[in-house]
Each structure stands twice: as structure tokens, then as C-alpha cells.
Amino acid sequence: MSSSRIAAHVRDIPRSGIRDFFEIVQSMKDVISLGIGEPDFVTPWHIREAAVYSLEKGKTGYTSNLGLPRLRRSISTYVEKHFSVEYNPHDEIIVTVGVSEAIDLALRALLNQGDEVLYHEPCYVSYSPTISLAGGVPIAVPTRAEDHFTLRAAALEKAVTPKTRVLMLNFPTNPTGAVMPLDELEKIAAFAVKHDLIVLTDEIYSELTYDEVKHHSIAALPGMKDRTIFLHGFSKAFAMTGWRIGFACGPADIIEAMMKIHQYSILCAPIMGQEAAIEALERGGRSVERMREEYRLRRNFIVSYLNDAGIPCHSPKGAFYVFPDIRGTGLTSKEFSFKLLEAKKVAVVPGTAFGPSGEGYVRCSYATGMDQIKLAVERIADFVRS
């Protein structure tokens, strides 16, 4: 079969690095995985129960393209309370199939062919391909271990061109767990204003911050609301990955444009997930609190263990990943991950899966039970010693 059957812009997108690794891990038995980017918690029972109840009541139809009005009102209240930005549930909020769809909609709604999009790296694997698929040009801005992988406005200044249209942010960050200090976030806001950029901010991990770090959204900074699309969802904080519910909040004209694409390609997010999401927002605080505390303890454990084993590991303030420095082993990220898997049956993800600037690091997820984490780090310590 000739590959020319496939559209060129799709053919040119490289296969995800994580995918190759996944297939090897899947083919092996008894692997302990620190490679999983989703909570190990099952969706809290009160949320599942609410979804079951909605099914019993026969709520199985389409919803408004923008999402259930009650969910949009709940989102509006939640975002105002936790992020200090007000959005009108009538025309400034759209419910999507996960944040992934919201990112895609926003980029397709904003980009003309050849427009450049800045994003910080290492980053979530889908940013660059999604930009390319929307006709944009992805421009990675590396972040540095010395800065704990936070983004510097100075680094953005070096990468911006007259063609730059959009800046993508993801704090707390997958894979590094980085969070942005307020003063630097203010500089980035000023940078966006200066160059007249739209900011696309994926804040999916925002509930998961530790050590009294308060999460700040760039959308809440003065003058930013009108140029920011705020993206959030239920997968991480509420342990609802499989429900596929996210949302975007932004200026009405952009939400309207995103809705146009959404209504013809998706129609609406599944109603079951939307019903569950209402329960999550209105009564999920206690469950989030419990999971966050558990993540914090696991992070402390894994950071302490790795450092004692001679693998330098900063203690990130957000998300559920640590990003240890494995350069001391003399191996590349990929070599380290494959050899560790082979020798000790522990899966971690090579830092380079999240962009070239992840070289020298691996991502370890602590969204896994403490007993598994303990076994995994013991084996990693053994591996590094030998």
C-alpha cells in the first residue's frame, strides 16, 4: 500500500516516541510502571453514582453544542472561585471532549497557514502535532533544569517573530511538574500584550499543587482575559480521564469560532460525562483534597529515595510527575529507560518523548500506589548502582 494515500501534512507528523515505548512495555509481563499519565484513583464514588443516577433518569440524549447549561454555570462558578476570572456561561464557555479537543479547536479556530505558535518544552506530547495539524508552525522554547523548568519571558523574546500568533502554556507542567511564580507569569503576560499574542493556557493540573504553592492563572492577570483561552478539565484532579470531559473559557468571539468546528465534528461532549462533571464541580472538593494529600506524600517519598540513591531529583510543586536527572549514569534518556525496563522491569518515560530538551531526564509518574512506587524506586536504585 503506498503511503501517498495519506495526506502529506498527516504523513509528516512523526510517530509519538511514547507509543514505541508503550508497545514494548505492553509486550512484557510484571512490569512496574511509573510511566502512566493518569491518576491511579478510580473516579470518586459520589461522581460515579451521580452518573449512574443520570442514566437511570434516562439522560441519554444530545446536549447543547456548548454543553449542558447547568454544567456551564457550575464551571463559571468554579473558575471564578478558584481562578478569579469571570466567564459568562451563556457564550464564554464550551464543554469539550477532554482538554485535548479544546486545544485542537482553539488552534484550528485561531491559526492561519504558517502562523507560528510558541510553546515551552519539555511538554505534553500532543502540542506540536496539534499545532501542525491546524496549519501552524510549532516553535519550541526550551525551559531549563536550573529554573526548575519554569518559563522565562526572556527565552520567549528570543523566539518570537512577526508571524507569532499564539503562546501555549501548561503549568503545572506535564512532564516536569513545574509551576510558574507569579512575578515571572506577569512578565509573560506583558510579553503577550507587547507582541499582541493570544494565550492558550492548559491548566489541567492546577488543583494539584503542593507545599502551599498557590496556582495563578494568566487569565486572571490585568488585561489578559480578552486575549486568553483558559483550558481545564476533569481528568486529573477528579480522576476522570476516561470520561473525556474538558472545557474552554474565553472571549465570546473565539468560543463561537471554536463552537463552529465542534458542532460539525463532535456535536457535543457525551452527556454522561457532563452529568458526572456537574457532581465533580459541585461536591468534589473533599475527594480532590484527599487525592492531593496522597500525591504529596508519594512525591516526598520518591524524591527523597531517588536523591538518596544518587539520582538528582528536584521536588516539583505541581502535577504528579518527578523529572529526575539521569545524566550521572552516562546514558541517554532513551538508553536509560530501555535498559531499566530490560534489567529491572520498571517503566519510566524518556524525557526526550516530551521534546529534545528533555534529554538527560526521565519522567516518573507518582500516580501509582505507594507499594508500587517503593518497589520501583528500589529497583531503580539497584539499577543505577550496578
Binding site: 509519538s16 511514547i18 512495555v25 505492553q26 505534553y124 506530547v125 506524600l297 516526598n300 529515595y305
Partner: protein, 183 residues
């Protein structure tokens, strides 16, 4: 006290309720309430303390009566199918001095009594009694509990099945499968 042994697996521990207010040790207590069998070394890493510091904190909590003991949570249906548990609603006449305390302590002193709580509402004391048989519990209620002078009435109910105890479900749930590597 012999209750202070650390027991394997599903253990929990008993603390004095006032400790929630008095001690800034929330994390330590939360972890121990869920799993008191956790090794000290793991506790230390989770709390970013040294092992010695953790031990000192626990010793203090034990000494001041915040931690009263460590027990395993047992699935009785698996281990001991004969014994019975009675939940007894007791109405008592409070005393002019001391209210319910002296009577409650008197009831609590019996070995058969597992727990005693002062309640609001239609009765005063909730007494949980463990016995090896129905007959043993009946005899305790008839001979001991109901003959205490201040006790006006007892309404005894028997536990039929346990679904959840101390935050633990009795039916073990199968962990749902997750993909082994995801972005």
C-alpha cells in the same frame, strides 16, 4: 500496654478525638489512621523528616494518650463466623453530679463492651457488644447491662453483615486495568 503492637496489613489505630485540634501533626496522624503498620523509614520520607524525628513524634502521641493503640481491621466473616455483635441503644437516668460519665464508664468497663458513645436523640448511650454467641450477649444484657440502676431501657439489635468498617470495604474491589504507559 499490649495493644501497642504493630499489626500487619489492614491495621488502623485509635486516637483521641481532641488531637485533631491540639496537634499540628495532621499528616502523620492521617497516614497512621490509614495504615499504622507503615515502616518508620517510609513515614520519614513521606513527611520529609528523619526517622528519629518520626519516632519521637509518635512516642509523644502515644505518651499523651492521643494514640491509644494499634489494631488490625479484620474481616470477621472470613475469620470467625460464630461470634456476634450487638448494637444496643441504652436510655439512662443521668446523675445530678457527673451526668452520664460515671454510668458510661461503668458500662465501658465490661470486657464484652467494645465501644460506648454518648448520643444525641432518642436514647443516651450507644453500646457495642461483642460476644461468642447470641446466648452470651443475651446474658450480658439481661444480667449486667439492664440491671445497672440508672439504666432505664435497652434496645438490642444484632449486626447481620459488615460492608465497610473503619473506611475499608469488606469486599475486595478488583483494581481496574490501566494502560501501562500513557502521555
Amino acid at each position: 500496654m499490649d495493644g501497642k503492637r504493630t499489626l500487619p496489613l489492614f491495621s488502623f489505630f485509635i486516637i483521641h478525638p481532641s488531637s485533631f485540634i491540639l496537634f499540628p501533626m495532621d499528616s502523620l496522624i492521617r497516614i497512621l489512621r490509614n495504615n499504622s503498620a507503615i515502616p518508620r523509614a517510609d513515614l520519614a520520607r513521606q513527611l520529609r523528616l528523619s526517622e528519629a524525628e518520626v519516632s519521637a513524634k509518635i512516642t509523644k502521641l502515644e505518651a499523651d494518650g492521643t494514640i491509644l493503640g494499634y489494631q488490625a481491621v479484620i474481616n470477621r466473616e472470613q475469620w470467625d463466623t460464630e461470634s456476634v455483635t450487638a448494637v444496643i441503644e441504652v436510655r439512662v437516668t443521668p446523675e445530678r453530679e457527673g451526668g452520664f460519665d460515671r454510668i458510661a464508664n461503668r458500662i465501658a468497663g465490661f470486657e464484652e463492651v467494645e465501644s460506648v458513645y454518648l448520643m444525641s436523640g432518642g436514647y443516651d448511650l450507644l453500646v457495642i457488644v461483642d460476644g461468642r454467641s447470641l446466648r452470651e450477649v443475651a446474658s450480658f444484657v439481661a444480667d449486667k447491662l439492664s440491671t445497672i440502676e440508672a439504666v432505664q431501657s435497652c434496645a438490642t439489635r444484632f449486626r447481620l453483615k459488615t460492608y465497610k468498617e473503619n473506611g475499608l470495604l469488606h469486599a475486595l474491589e478488583e483494581a481496574p486495568e490501566r494502560l501501562s504507559v500513557t502521555p
